[in-house]
């Protein structure tokens, strides 16, 4: 038998119920309003699914209205529920279960989706409350058991996520680095297709311009290094002449080339966390290209509601991120390194030996035979735009680059992380520098971006290699140019790749 409640406590519970009822009713109205406002595009995007959501929202308004009416009626008449705290408990359960469902089915987070989801939560809460009765004996036992089980599950879930966040804050670990799903999407979009041919060499099963990757065998002497970068890592030369392949020849160690064209620092951090670190290399080399890696759009800063996102976007919730990450690490662990070099499954179309390369691609041996990729005008426009971007960068505007490198370092954990600074061609070739520097009122210091970055890297104690002095010291060819970059292409040619490989080999020694 229920003990009679003190009037003040009964009053408080009743007011809580009314407060919840008003809140959820308002939420249903707001959710339905948002759905109605954007009915046309949402219907186009989601088709029948949106129609169902709209119907559920309308039903939620009715249910929430009824729940509000019943709650007000109880307040007026002084009627008491068998379980006075049931509305509060239902609110907690609905919000937590709704949160999990939102993380699973309504990603990526958008405020509009969140508002509609809150409306649905209001309807679910109202439905749960409408089943509450005055006499506890009238509630079927199974419903009470279900209520208790769900509530316990929700408490455990919230406790687990809160606990993980606290632990991640107190004991940072590579496992807890959150890189976001945005970089993953970008990588997926720009990654080469498995088997895609480049200069007679097929990309591996992950879409990288290299042989198959396997997790490092800790007993082997081979010191696996993974190189991460953008189109410089994808390269504009045959595989045998790529700087990672040349680096393998110079050092005798395996170097995996994880290059994806069009990506930037946030994606580098994501690759370190999700693909490089699980392979357990002896080192990770992240390449920062001065030409366009300093001017990356900080998508996260443009996204509104960062506090809401930290709980309602699945790539920010440890309960969702950790299982996927652990599964990936386990999968990599199953792919052990073979004895000897890993071989590509697909045959090469063009023999990768040096003589065959020269025969197939004569410009790899003589840069003066290179054909331009861009017109002169287009090339100068591109280089000028890059120079304007690179030389107006400040330590503040480089916040995203810094944050990404820090994320990459955390994701690497105990694996040494090195940074390679790749200069743009306008910094190396005097002729191009003379042309682009005219765009400035006062020609800037030529290595200014490197100076800013190196100061920060030293401060963070991250080893780095600046290729600008090495490249500027290269002996010019007979036409006075250094010819380290493919003609009007902005990427290294065979000569540039070799010089980079030699510098990296010296650096790693």
């Amino acid at each position: 038998m229920n003990r009679p409640l003190a009037p003040s406590r009964a009053h408080a519970y009743a007011l809580i119920s009314v407060g919840l009822a008003i809140s959820f009713f308002t939420a249903t109205l707001c959710g339905a309003w948002s759905a109605a406002t954007y009915r046309l595009p949402l219907s186009f995007l989601y088709g029948q699914s949106f129609d169902w959501v709209a119907i559920c929202l309308l039903a939620s308004i009715v249910l929430a209205g009824l729940a509000l009416w019943k709650t007000l009626q109880r307040l007026i008449t002084g009627e008491r529920l068998a379980r006075p705290l049931a509305p509060l408990r239902h609110a907690f359960t609905v919000l937590v279960l709704g949160w999990l469902a939102f993380l699973e089915f309504a990603q990526p987070f958008q405020r509009l989706h969140f508002e509609m989801a809150l409306g649905l939560f209001g309807g679910a809460w109202a439905l749960a409350c409408l089943f509450e009765v005055r006499d506890a004996k009238r509630t079927p036992r199974i419903l009470r058991a279900l209520d208790l089980a769900l509530f316990s599950l929700c408490v455990a879930t919230v406790t687990a996520e809160s606990g993980l966040r606290a632990y991640a804050f107190l004991q940072p670990s590579p496992l807890f680095v959150l890189t976001g799903s945005g970089p993953d999407e970008t990588i997926r979009r720009f990654r080469n297709k498995p088997g895609e041919m480049r200069f007679g060499f097929p990309c591996n099963s992950r879409g990288y311009y290299d042989q198959e990757f396997f997790r490092a065998n800790q007993t082997q002497d081979d010191q696996l290094l993974i190189s991460i970068g953008d189109s410089f890592s994808v390269g504009a030369v045959p595989h045998a002449l790529h700087y990672t392949t040349v680096l393998e020849e110079l050092t005798g160690n395996t170097v995996y080339n994880m290059g994806v064209a069009g990506i930037g620092p946030p994606e580098y951090a994501s690759l370190v966390a999700l693909e490089a670190a699980p392979l357990k290399p002896k080192g990770i080399l992240v390449s920062i290209f001065i030409g366009n890696d300093l001017d990356v759009l900080d998508v996260r800063s443009e996204q509104p509601d960062p506090r809401l996102r930290s709980w309602w976007q699945s790539d920010q919730v440890f309960l969702f991120v950790l299982p996927q990450r652990l599964a990936r690490i386990r999968k990599e662990g199953e792919r052990l390194v073979n004895a000897g070099k890993a071989q590509n499954a697909l045959p090469h179309v063009v023999d990768q030996d040096a003589a065959a390369m020269t025969a197939a691609y004569p410009w790899t041996a003589d840069p003066l035979l290179e054909e331009a990729s861009l017109s002169e005008a287009a090339f100068m426009r591109l280089e000028t735009a890059r120079a304007l971007s690179a030389y107006t960068a400040t330590p503040e505007s480089l916040e995203l680059v810094y944050r990404s490198i820090q994320d990459a370092k955390r994701a690497a954990g105990d694996i040494p992380l090195y940074v390679l600074l790749i200069p743009d061609e306008f910094q190396v070739e005097d002729e191009i520098w003379d042309a682009v520097s005219q765009q400035f009122n006062q020609p800037p210091q030529r290595d200014r971006p490197q100076t800013i970055l190196k100061a920060w890297l030293r401060d963070q104690k991250i080893p780095y290699l600046d290729l600008l002095p090495v490249m500027r010291a290269a002996t010019p060819l007979k036409d006075g140019r250094r010819h380290l970059y493919h003609l009007r292409d902005t990427h290294w040619n065979a000569r540039g790749n070799r010089l980079a490989a030699e510098s990296i080999a010296d650096f790693l020694r």
Binding site: L29, Y38, L40, I61, Q73, T77, G78, E302, Q303, A378
Partner: protein, 239 residues
């Protein structure tokens, strides 16, 4: 045990119930009305919302509700194609395709002026031009004669994909002797179209008399491909 907080009679409670239900019904009616009547001005205003998702939805809404007045939406749709984090690339590309017929000139202007756009964006614009079909052929050819010259490869591919409906527009270009390089390119396109470009045969034959040797040569090759029988007649002197 109950503790009434407010003493009320039955009729007061009944009145409260009726008011609550009427309020819910009114709210529902307002929502339905609101959902049916969003104005183009509202969509356009949302195109500058700080939330990129709202901007994308607004561009889709404007494009669907008022395709002919959706010019302001097109740059936002192209931006949406590049924003992977929104997950709306495909719908944005579909809508660009849908709007292509009414906004061919704008799409061509963007293609000609934005030199370094992503492949996805470029692909979406070209698909839209191809979908627009014959209506886009004339503007494409005009663009080739103007700012779109640097994009001749892509525009030529679009004309080829449009196929036979593009032949009249390409033929006009092939008939203009003022710019031999463009004339050459136009005849090349007709040659690629092969027998679909039969209607251009008189223009190709006229090009055999061009003062430019390159044009004469390509015209000859084009005639071979467009109408092999006609070429045979030329060889034997039969007309």
């Amino acid at each position: 045990m109950s503790y009434p907080l407010v003493m009320g009679s039955d009729w007061q409670i009944k009145a409260a119930v009726e008011h609550s239900l009427k309020l819910s019904a009114l709210a529902l009616a307002c929502l339905v009305f609101h959902g049916c009547t969003r104005s183009e001005h509202s969509w356009t205003a949302d195109l500058t919302d700080p939330d990129p998702y709202v901007r994308s939805l607004a561009s889709i809404g404007l494009g669907l509700q008022a395709p002919r007045d959706a010019a302001p939406a097109i740059p936002v749709l192209l931006e949406t194609i590049d924003r992977s984090e929104l997950g709306l690339q495909r719908p944005a590309a579909e809508l660009i395709n849908y709007l292509g017929v009414a906004h061919t000139d704008q799409l061509l202007q963007i293609l000609a002026t934005e030199e370094f756009m992503t492949e996805d964006r470029r692909g979406a614009i070209l698909n839209a031009l191809v979908t627009a079909g014959a209506k886009a052929a004339g503007p494409i050819v005009r663009c080739l004669q103007g700012p779109g010259r640097a994009q001749a490869g892509d525009l030529g591919d679009a004309l080829l994909l449009i196929g036979e409906p593009a032949v009249p527009a390409i033929s006009e270009l092939a008939a203009s002797p003022d710019e031999p390089s463009l004339q050459h390119f136009a005849i090349f396109l007709l040659a690629r179209l092969g027998q679909k470009a039969r209607a251009s045969l008189p223009i190709l034959k006229a090009a055999l008399d061009s003062p430019d040797p390159g044009v004469r040569q390509i015209a000859r090759q084009a005639i071979e491909l467009v109408d092999p029988e006609s070429e045979a007649k030329i060889d034997t002197g039969v007309r």
